[in-house]
């Protein structure tokens, strides 16, 4: 051993891969493992940037053949119209099959009750679980990333769920090398997270490198918003603003895209990908901290929702 290390340039090696190439190869490997080992996989596709990147990776993984998976969207009934339009356009362009599980239908049928705070994110778990059971999906791809949240930091790439979709963090299988164990009993399924190791910045850099189209709400635009708990929420018929909440027009963009009732916009004048990347690289807030009301509930809010079968 030498106590004074020789400093060598790792990037000089002709066989070094860029970090985006490494992450892309890893994700493609995960998609192909699932295609090789499962009968009925499905991709959770919300029209948010992470699911858009997932679909892009799946398209590359099996080209020139079509993606051997269907898509599933859990529609809260409060989704952004721009995002739904993007979703339908994408499905049509690639000739994909889309299943929609509708929270609104569950509410209308009396199977779910609207929460007092109007937030529908936690209501997605039941329609999601029942869609998985009904279609007998055995592998469900999610766009969750470990950098998003500390309970997600402990998540496996292949995450076993029981027939109620429940996650038990203490009974997770150790995941070694690139050997993913997808064995499961009938009725159980495996949640698969191909972009586990990506950060928000990686996702944006990859979108820029690949020239992937996104819904326009990810870029700065004028919008009528009001302030609730320090977040800019969009005004709309989902239930906002309440009395005393002042609507104003601001230049904003969305860092994450979920249910309108709990997804906040950030002040921004980033109208291009490069500008968005620069903003994110300089941001001192995590994307969930800046934009998600549902994660502000408690220290273990995400862990609790995941245990119940959330994404």
């Amino acid at each position: 051993m030498t106590t004074v290390a020789t400093v060598q340039e790792g990037t000089d090696n002709p066989y070094a891969l860029s970090h985006l190439d490494s992450l892309e190869s890893e994700a493609v490997h995960i998609f192909r493992e699932v295609a090789g080992e499962f009968e009925r996989p499905v991709i959770l596709f919300s029209g948010g940037k992470d699911s858009i990147v997932m679909l892009h990776l799946a398209l590359k993984a099996f080209a020139p053949a079509p993606v051997p998976f269907t898509l599933l969207h859990v529609d809260t009934g409060h989704n952004f119209p721009e995002v739904l339009e993007y979703r339908d356009r994408t499905v049509a362009r690639h000739g994909l099959r889309l299943h929609v599980a509708s929270v609104q239908e569950y509410i209308d049928a009396g199977k779910l009750r609207e929460r007092p705070d109007g937030t529908r994110n936690p209501l997605q778990t039941v329609p999601l679980t029942e869609a998985i059971q009904q279609h007998r999906f055995d592998a469900v791809f999610g766009g969750g990333r470990r950098d998003e949240e500390k309970a997600r930091a402990k998540e496996r790439v292949f995450s076993l769920r029981d027939e109620f979709s429940q996650w038990d963090p203490r009974r997770q299988r150790p995941e070694l090398w690139q050997l993913y164990n997808g064995r499961h009993a009938p009725g159980e399924h495996v949640r698969v997270f191909p972009i586990s190791n990506w950060t928000e910045l990686d996702v944006w850099q990859y979108i820029a490198r690949e020239g992937i189209e996104l819904p326009e709400i990810y870029f700065a635009h004028e919008r009528e918003v009001f302030n609730r708990s320090g977040m800019w929420l969009t005004a709309g018929d989902w239930g906002g603003p309440k009395e005393g909440e002042q609507v104003e027009t601001r230049q904003v963009r969305y860092r994450t895209v979920g249910d309108m009732s709990c997804t906040g916009a950030v002040d921004s004048d980033a109208t291009t990908l490069d500008a968005v990347i620069t903003e994110i690289a300089a941001s001192r807030l995590t994307e969930r901290g800046a934009t998600r009301a549902d994660d502000k509930m408690s220290e273990a809010a995400m862990e609790d929702r995941k245990r119940e079968g959330y994404f």
Partner: protein
């Protein structure tokens, strides 16, 4: 070129380093990890506020940076790290994936998990205590898992007056132990033994030599921990490696546009493949020639590990998931008898005679545990013959017979194609992590097997 574009381009040419840390709170591991994240500006304001809030509500004055990595309620309640936590941070030169693992002996399986994909392991020692049992165990895990680089971080130098002789003695003792592990200059990318380990004197608490060079240790001329992480080679000359391509999936569009396309999709596990190369398909032994390599939308002449590609061959031979494509003049032998060092990772034991599934690359086959000849104590590498069973966190030797032939490499030659899992066929539990072939040099010379000539 604008400053912005330069920024983006620079980021897109950064490489990725996966590394693992092992140690306990007592060694200052959380402080080191916290400082790496904090000083590289990877902890964001809302995360820090959450940690400060949680620390205050526990009656602690200073923010406890360990709370950044303890993500589960049970961990926070018990104040310990149970599971591997993955952390992400970046500098302008490199992106890092850190597998932060607990250090105690009852969490050896978590350490093994973190080390299995790591290209570098940070082993922490307390400068006041020097090399202790736990240090030897962590070094042995890194050697066993063939982690290519190790950093010995001699921490708490502030508490020994930043004295060079203290550091030098610890570094020397560790070197001697590393030599006894017989860490070879293995084919899968490890540093030659003399370069395997880099010792760095640090104080994680005071920040000496973690991100910024220390002003207290002029006698040390080497890199800080972060400088070393940024510059350690993540790749090596792959042409010297045995090229291996496990087939994951056969792509056959059968469309009007691509009526005859037949490609073998997979991730190159080791080495490099070229168009025009003669290859053998295992276990069948059939041969063909590479006619095209599709690298995710781009046709290339050469591709290397760990790229995900689709390979096309000249001949329409029967190939399916689980087969291995290798150079015709450098194919591994095919066997149904596996001897390996394993780490038992499940709560239920592994016993002689047990029927299991063996998952190797993209192939899963039935197998039976024929023998468990020994159990190994990692603290002193002592062997305990014929233990009869392996319990959670045990390291041992096993002999397994498989129902189908496997194209298996020695783990020392190829981490990816020399590793496997044993799985309980009844409930799918991952039982055991296996590494084919001999584990340490001492064993290799004892068995006098020319194949394991380190």
């Amino acid at each position: 070129m604008t400053a912005l574009t330069r920024h983006t381009e620079q980021l897109s040419t950064t490489t990725l380093l996966r590394f693992a840390t092992a140690g306990s709170v007592d060694d200052g591991k959380s402080t080191l990890v916290g400082r790496l994240l904090h000083d590289s500006k990877s902890v964001l304001t809302d995360q820090l506020e959450a940690v400060e809030h949680a620390s205050r509500s526990r009656g602690q004055e200073a923010p406890d940076l360990a709370l950044l990595t303890d993500g589960l309620r049970a961990e926070r309640e018990q104040g310990i790290t149970i599971d591997v936590a993955y952390r992400y941070f970046a500098t302008p030169r490199r992106r890092f994936i850190l597998a932060d693992t607990p250090g105690h002996v009852q969490y050896t399986r978590n350490m093994v998990t973190g080390a299995s994909t790591a290209e570098l392991a940070v082993v922490l020692v307390d400068a006041r205590n020097g090399v202790v049992e736990q240090t030897r165990r962590h070094a042995a895990v890194a050697a066993l898992l063939r982690v290519p680089h190790v950093v010995l971080a001699v921490n708490k130098m502030d508490l020994v007056d930043y004295a060079e002789p203290v550091f030098a003695a610890i570094a020397e003792e560790f070197t001697a132990y590393a030599a006894s592990l017989g860490v070879p200059g293995w084919g899968s990318g490890g540093d030659p033994q003399e370069n395997w380990c880099t010792a760095i004197p640090i104080s994680a608490l005071a920040g000496d030599n973690v991100v910024e060079p220390s002003s207290h240790m002029d006698w040390y001329g080497g890199p800080t921990v972060l400088e070393h992480l940024e510059t350690v080679p993540v790749s090596h000359d792959l042409t010297a490696c045995h090229a291996r391509f496990p087939v994951q999936y056969v792509i056959r569009p059968q469309t009007a546009e691509h009526p005859d396309y037949r490609g073998y999709a997979g991730q190159i596990a080791a080495g490099a493949f070229r168009v025009g190369e003669a290859v053998t398909v295992l276990p069948s032994g059939r041969t063909s020639t590479v006619t095209a390599i599709d690298a995710l939308g781009e046709s290339v002449d050469i591709a290397w590990a760990p790229q995900s590609v689709t390979i096309r061959l000249a001949d329409d031979i029967d190939i399916s998931r689980g087969d291995l494509i290798a150079p015709a003049d450098d194919a591994p032998s095919v066997t149904r008898d596996v001897e390996a060092t394993v780490c038992h990772v499940a709560d239920q034991p592994l016993t002689v005679g047990q029927r299991v599934l063996l998952k190797h690359t993209t192939r899963t086959v039935k197998a039976i545990v024929k023998d468990i000849p020994s159990r190994l104590t990692l603290d002193d590498l002592s062997q305990h013959p014929a233990p009869g069973r392996l319990d959670a966190n045990d390291i041992g030797r096993v002999v397994v017979r498989t129902a189908e032939p496997l194209a298996l490499d020695a783990y020392a030659d190829s981490r990816r194609t020399g590793s496997f899992l044993l799985i309980d066929p009844a409930d799918g539990t991952t039982l055991t992590a296996g590494m084919a072939g001999a584990s340490f040099a001492a064993e290799a010379s004892a068995t006098d097997d020319a194949e394991w000539n380190f």
